[in-house]
């Protein structure tokens, strides 16, 4: 087994970009500390590369040619595409893992028709997690995208199948690989409602991950998610894929609805890899 870590975390741009505006300093710093614990756990796992299953926000893919899934097989990436002053993350280059990425992609393709890309510009959806998890940008990254933005969206059961395929692919390589799924739970980002969340819906979703309840996780319709979790809720696909890859229950290491300036309930968790 070469999947040595699977976890989830939030990625909202406010987490870095609006850090100074946050009034709940104690909770903010508690969140940052948990992200650092996640960094330490990934390092302790011996991971040689990190897969980031993200929900990108039109940095690379548009409705002219929108893949349901894509895996990065490039040698190097760059980001953020956003104004660095706005995101408070300087533009940087990030190493890829082209050989490993190709082998993983080849195996994933046995069951899931994923696209692949040698070019990839990171937006906040990947660079914010990396800012905390690989702050020196020295770990090879394999970016992965699930279409959570441009409807028709990737079906949840396909996100699960994709996670299982990634796991099978990881099992087939000798390298130690870590994986994180990153997204919101409920949120209404980039609208006047920014900061709005549905705490009860979030807790129920996390509980389904804790129970590793596949049937319940895949039972949300997009209409229900839009109504209860906002357009940001579509990003649950990344958590679902990470759950499928792990196979075991989620340990919710941090969850708070009390940082609305970050426009999402801030979450950190680690799955048992079984």
């Amino acid at each position: 087994m070469s999947l040595v870590y699977s976890g989830v975390l939030s990625h909202a741009p406010g987490i870095t970009g609006r850090a100074d505006l946050c009034k709940n300093i104690e909770k903010r710093d508690e969140f940052y500390a948990k992200l650092d614990v996640q960094r330490q756990e990934i390092e302790a796992s011996g991971a040689e590369a990190l897969i980031v299953i993200a929900a990108e926000h039109f940095a690379n893919f548009f409705m002219n040619n929108m893949p349901a899934f894509c895996i990065g097989i490039g040698e190097q990436y760059s980001g953020p595409i956003e104004d660095p002053e706005w995101l408070r993350i300087p533009k940087t280059d990030v190493p890829g893992a082209p050989d490993l990425g190709r082998r993983l992609t080849k195996e994933v393709m046995q069951t899931v028709d994923t696209a692949y890309a040698e070019e990839w510009k990171f937006d906040h959806g990947i660079i914010v997690p990396l800012h905390f998890l690989t702050p020196n940008y020295d770990m090879p990254i394999i970016p992965v995208n699930i279409n959570c933005q441009g409807p028709p969206l990737t079906p949840l059961h396909r996100a699960w199948a994709f996670g299982e395929a990634i796991r099978r692919a990881c099992n087939a390589v000798p390298e130690k690989v870590a994986l994180v799924g990153t997204g919101g739970i409920s949120h209404w980002p980039a609208t006047p409602d920014s900061g709005k969340i549905n705490e009860a819906w979030d807790r129920e979703f996390l509980d389904r991950l804790v129970r590793q309840d596949k049937e319940a996780l895949l039972s949300y319709t997009d209409e229900e998610t839009y109504r209860d979790g906002g357009q940001g809720g579509f990003e649950i696909r990344t958590y679902i894929a990470a759950a499928a890859a792990a196979g075991g229950p989620l340990d919710v290491q941090f969850f708070t609805p009390d940082l609305p300036i970050f426009a999402v309930s801030c979450t950190v968790g680690r799955f048992e890899v079984t």
Binding site: P13, G14, G17, R18, L21, C22, K23, H57, F58, A59, N60, F62, M63, N64, I81, E82, D83, W86, L87, K121, D123, Q149, G150, P151, W188, P189, A190, T191, P192, D193, S194, G195, K196, Y226, G230, Q231, P260, I261
Partner: protein, 111 residues
Amino acid sequence: MSLYHLQKFLFELNRDEALQDKCRKDITGQFGGYDLTEEEAGALRDGDIGLLYVLGVNGQILMHYAAFLGIEWFDYLEMMRQGIDKYGPVRAGVYTMTGGGDAFTEEDTHK
């Protein structure tokens, strides 16, 4: 179809630093090849975040564009609210306003 082109233009702008440099000097000169209505072209020319929001530009695309324009976060939120007040509800897409114009963070002091 024109909303598609409006968003496509912003998608390209958000990820292309060379295009960003050109747009800082002459944004209307970069519209070639994009099928934009006069209203859409005007919104881009004027940096009218409120109108772009109402026209249905995906929020993620619009948020990145607002950052490119150097608009502060709470000003950006307020521009979208003012766009609703001025132009009416969001006409397309999934980034509609559902909160009645309320602020959802204590740090947001505009409303």
